[in-house]
């Protein structure tokens, strides 16, 4: 298993670890619930350095990206980002990505850890006819996510952030900027790429740090964030947070056998582009027979991934993710349901017990702005 640069920091903070996408990652430091609530109420700090990152540049970088992914990265202005799908030739989902236009003509493409190799191979194969360079920078950068309503204050509370911090309050969601971090003694002087993105449903930032400086930045964030309620948070909290926010997770809501329209992501696919991988297959395909919807139940018992969704005695779908929502206090789930059953009376078969569920709009949780 791979370890991030911050592994020893997590050990010192008392983390328990779990294997995720080939990496040994902190699943929790103290309590899943406490970390979840910390992110909703104040802020949480996540090490997400396991994510795969590729830098893409060269004379035909934008043409390549428009061909390689579902949307139009060529329309991403400098300092902006877009959520994208990497489609297979068959129109399935190889991975979901964020593409940042971080420097003039240079992009970073961020993919899921577990899909690192599949994404790397797809990018390489698709680049054959383009003048483009694809650098795998996964092992050069650490990625630290600062998430929660007090994230902005926490960044502003760090005296060593001396350049690029001025405009941070006005930074829009899905944009990014470089900030210079210079410690008081001058020993640490590094440029960070700070993006207002995240996977929790809260305001927050994802910070790209060259590996050599990751420990220092992680400690600085915790030190200056503590008085504002910041706590380190693990993958368990990250999963319950993203689920409440209705965000898909690869392997659950997304996969090679999933049609983008089934998971309400057709808006990310630009059929008006001349050509892109997956276009022909998607245009030729029938509309998907299932659709991703939100479900809620009463009580404390949660539908879990893989449990059948029933209409009477008939299986009409499957739960993709589910949990007793820490914020809402009732069970929530996302499920892929036969289109003709999405408004029917549904139950989830919880290991032999039928749990009544009702359809609700996604996301389950939306932050107050």
């Amino acid at each position: 298993m791979k370890r991030t640069v911050l592994f020893e920091e997590h050990q010192e903070l008392g983390a328990s670890f779990v294997e995720f996408g080939g990496w040994e990652m902190p699943v929790r430091y103290t309590s899943d619930l406490a970390e979840h609530h910390s992110v909703r109420k104040a802020a949480g700090l996540f090490d997400i350095s396991h994510m795969a990152e590729f830098e893409i540049y060269g004379p035909e970088a934008t043409e390549f990206l428009d061909y390689a992914v579902g949307g139009k990265p060529s329309t991403i202005a400098e300092n902006k980002a877009k959520y994208q799908l990497l489609l297979s030739e068959e129109g399935g989902i190889v991975d979901d990505l964020i593409i940042y236009h971080w420097k003039p003509g240079r992009y970073i493409l961020v993919a899921n850890a577990g899909n690192h190799d599949a994404v790397a191979e797809a990018l390489k194969a698709r680049s054959a006819n383009f003048q483009v360079t694809i650098d795998d920078i996964t092992d050069a950068y650490s990625l630290i996510a600062l998430q929660g309503p007090r994230s902005l204050e926490i960044l502003q509370n760090i005296p060593s952030l001396i350049e690029g911090i001025e405009g941070v309050a006005e930074m829009k969601y899905y944009s990014g900027t470089f900030m210079r971090f210079k410690s008081a003694n001058g020993r640490v002087d590094v440029e960070l790429f700070v993006a207002r993105t995240g996977y929790t449903g809260e305001d927050g930032f994802e910070i790209y740090v060259p590996n050599d400086f990751a420990t220092f930045i992680w400690r600085a964030l915790l030190a200056h964030g503590e008085e504002l309620g910041l706590n380190p948070a693990g993958l368990a909290a990250r999963d319950t947070l993203r689920l409440e926010a209705g965000m898909p997770l690869y392997g659950h809501e997304l996969g090679l056998d999933i049609h983008p329209a089934a998971v309400n992501l057709e808006r990310t696919v630009a059929f008006d582009k001349a050509d892109f991988v997956g276009k022909a297959a998607l245009q030729a395909s029938a509309a998907p027979t299932r659709k991703l919807i939100g479900l809620r139940a009463e009580g404390k018992r949660a539908p879990r991934a893989g449990y059948p969704v029933m209409h009477g005695e008939k299986v009409v779908g499957e739960v993709t993710s589910g949990v007793l929502s820490p914020t809402l206090g009732y069970p929530i789930a996302m499920a892929l349901i036969d289109i003709d059953a999405i408004d029917a009376d549904l139950t989830v078969d919880i290991r032999g017990t039928a749990l009544e569920v009702s359809r609700v709009e996604l996301p389950f949780y939306k932050r107050q702005k």
Binding site: S31, L33, H36, A302
Partner: protein, 126 residues
């Protein structure tokens, strides 16, 4: 998180406390820590006859579902309603307030194969 010495343990991470032919059963601190924050318990009703090695209940955390096995045959004579009402008790006090069920044993000798504290600690690598 060493396990207490007055209890016996199963390899499935249950602990057992004997009082004559009645066994009190719970899960170990190790099991609770592995599950994370416990939010739901499904325990067998009083009067249920349970069989050794079978799943008799479920322990859900935010992250996963754990199964409760019974190490011996018997009849459930009491369940811990306080723990059902406040499942996080299993995280904070798994060996005392977080007990789960009491079972009147049909054949106490079934429990001879349980682990003592040292063997259990070795089993979990503590």
């Amino acid at each position: 998180m060493s396990a207490p010495s007055n209890l016996k343990y199963s390899t499935d991470h249950e602990w057992v406390l004997f009082d004559g032919d009645v066994a009190t059963i719970g899960i170990t601190q190790f099991a609770a820590d592995q599950l994370g924050d416990i939010v739901y318990l499904d325990l067998p009703k009083v009067g249920t006859m349970i069989k050794a090695g079978t799943i008799v209940g479920e322990i859900e955390s935010t992250k996963s579902v754990g199964e409760l096995y019974t190490p011996a045959d018997g009849e459930v004579v009491e369940l811990n309603q306080d723990a059902v009402d406040a499942p996080d008790t299993l995280n904070s006090d798994p060996y005392e307030a977080g007990w789960l069920i009491k079972v009147k044993l049909s054949d106490p000798s079934q429990l001879d194969s349980l682990l003592d504290e040292a063997s259990y600690n070795a089993h979990i690598g503590a």
